[in-house]
Symmetry: C2
Subunit: 338 residues, 2 copies
DNA sequence: TTGTATGCGTTATCAA
DNA sequence: TTGATAACGCATACAA
């Protein structure tokens, strides 16, 4: 702590410029190289990233904004994002806005004041102005799991439409026609895409859309619980359900257990997201696994690329494929009288 | 972007010194005050925190290190921690080390290079050297949910012993004697404390300790699942179980549902931690709620205090009380033959 | 109360 | 290839 280039320079008998050049990988005379190297080691010198940032107008920090730190899907992605950027010696300021738009705005301002070199946003249309401002200030932005109409940004999304199509199709192939969906939040970008996949699968197989089968659980487990309960109270309950996220799945399964319904005998299930408890639930669930590792890595890579000034292929609209993991939660519709 | 104090000074017709003083709340002549204020507004001036940091040797940033970003208990605390520090215009660098000690070390080094003004650590004995180094460099450290033997640091913990005592006692009061515990990781600070509470409750009521009833689920849901399964295979299975964290509870309940055991008729349950699904599970669980808000806030407050140089009452060993939320998961031991 | 000048730890420019 | 020096944006000691 506290030993500076000046100290190193003196110790090595060279000038600060030489030390700086050594640090930044410029070549210098063999002999000086050694002297500087030794001095650095002996003194335990560490460069001061703050001062460096002041000079280069680089903070070596990126800002990440997620809705909630307790949303495991986001934090899983952030984990791999961090791994990606730390390789290039970037660090991360992680903020959540708790679904409060005013707070979202403040957080983005905050990051800008902090001179972050780039921003990863788990949010979309809600804060166009902020995004615009960031981009005007030449701070690259990558948007995950969202989209911003009217603004061009790099985006990383899974192929929601395709994944939902395949999930729904899977149920159809097992003989289901009464297929319900427990979707996220109405109007939300992701939810709309997933709904679209569901609908187009049904259309493709000439199955009539039943509005009663389309429910919104706001991505929460309590929502999933309620939706499932409601679905079973339909005049003609579905024989299968497609659930579009993890938390709602938890809630739905809780409801199912309470009602003593057996999966897949009474009800078939396919859902989104793999998490810890998936491996523990029996019968095992069939689900769409979003490659969170890949998402985080992609977002990080694109952002770093932009930070370096490489604007090729802007704006990128990454669509990442999902894989379906086969469990035992789907069977032909059999017993439908609970 | 890019407007500096120099610009403001010129615009206001004063010197940079005056602007700086205005910014930092020193008093100046009414007239100058107004001029500076206006200039700042007109130019949209924002101070450069990086430059400020270089000068003051303050980064206005604290480092937070948690085991995993996907551990909801930690992230809930971090959320309230962030709320606390942001009030004083501090920001947070959040890192996880994925239970990898080498990574933990690197993360702490990283934060130190980043000149964080303080560190909150969700880790303990594993990295004494790092903690010592931080403190030698006068970077205050607050440890949450842990303890570091041989080093004095401020700590924030819940009263694990007391909470576990009360939880166990609750089961005893309902008439149970065959009480099992599904504990975290053997040897771990928290786990040891919770075990101690469990044991001393049994001792207090003259109930013999049965080693077979003490299981370790490593804080994971798969662990909780397995432990519960094993417990029920004991020659004389417990009539009640105390589970010491959220993930293990999830796993245990999954097992219980699979086995078609009824709570509390066949088995009584008390556990740690409130989270989303608690409100959804039926019968409702009786649980110990750790005041995550309070923990985060306390840690933040203590750290800020230390950063300001106030070392009074060092080292603080905050013990935060928990509250027990009454559900319907406890009944007298009745049917014990599953 | 204010202005000026210096320094925080780096990097970049310019001569040498 | 190197050294000296001027920035980067801000805070502060000192002088006025």
């Amino acid at each position: 702590m506290g030993t500076t280039m000046k100290d190193v320079a003196r110790h090595a008998g060279v000038s600060v410029g030489t030390v700086s050049r050594y640090i930044n990988g410029y070549r210098l005379k063999e002999i000086n190289m050694k002297k500087v190297k030794m001095a650095i080691e002996e003194l335990g010198f560490k460069e001061n990233i703050i001062a460096k940032g002041l000079k280069n107008k680089r903070s070596m920090t990126i800002g990440v904004v997620i809705a909630s730190l307790t949303d495991i899907f986001s934090t899983t992605i952030v984990t791999s994002l961090e791994k990606t950027i730390e390789k290039e010696n970037y660090s991360m300021m992680l903020c959540d806005y708790n679904c409060n738009l005013d707070r979202l705005h403040r957080k983005i301002m905050f990051l800008q004041d902090r001179m972050v070199d780039g921003v990863v946003l788990f949010a979309g249309n809600e804060n166009k102005e902020d995004v615009r401002r960031l981009m005007n200030n030449e701070i690259p932005v990558v948007v995950i799991d969202s989209n911003i109409e009217g603004i061009e940004t790099d985006r990383v999304n899974v192929d929601n439409v395709g994944a939902s199509f395949r999930a729904t199709e899977k149920l159809i192939h097992s003989g289901h026609e009464r297929i319900a969906v427990i979707n996220g939040t109405k109007g939300d970008f992701i939810a709309e895409e997933r709904l679209q996949g569901y609908i187009s699968a049904l259309n493709t197989y000439d199955i009539t859309i039943n509005d009663e089968y389309i429910r919104y659980g706001n991505y929460s487990s309590i929502g999933g619980y309620n939706c499932l309960m409601e679905l079973l109270e339909c005049k003609s309950p579905p024989t299968s359900v497609f659930i579009t996220n993890y938390y709602m799945t938890i809630g739905a399964i809780t409801a199912i257990n309470e009602l003593d319904i057996k999966i897949p005998r009474h009800l078939s299930l396919i859902c989104f997201d793999r998490f810890e408890i998936m491996d523990v639930i029996k019968p095992s669930l069939t689900f769409i696994e979003q490659p969170t590792d890949r998402i985080g890595e992609m977002a990080g890579r694109i952002l770093l690329k932009r930070i370096k000034g490489d604007m090729s292929q802007f704006p990128m609209d990454m669509r990442i494929n999902t894989r379906m993991v086969m469990g035992k939660s789907i069977a032909p519709p059999g017993v439908t009288d609970h």
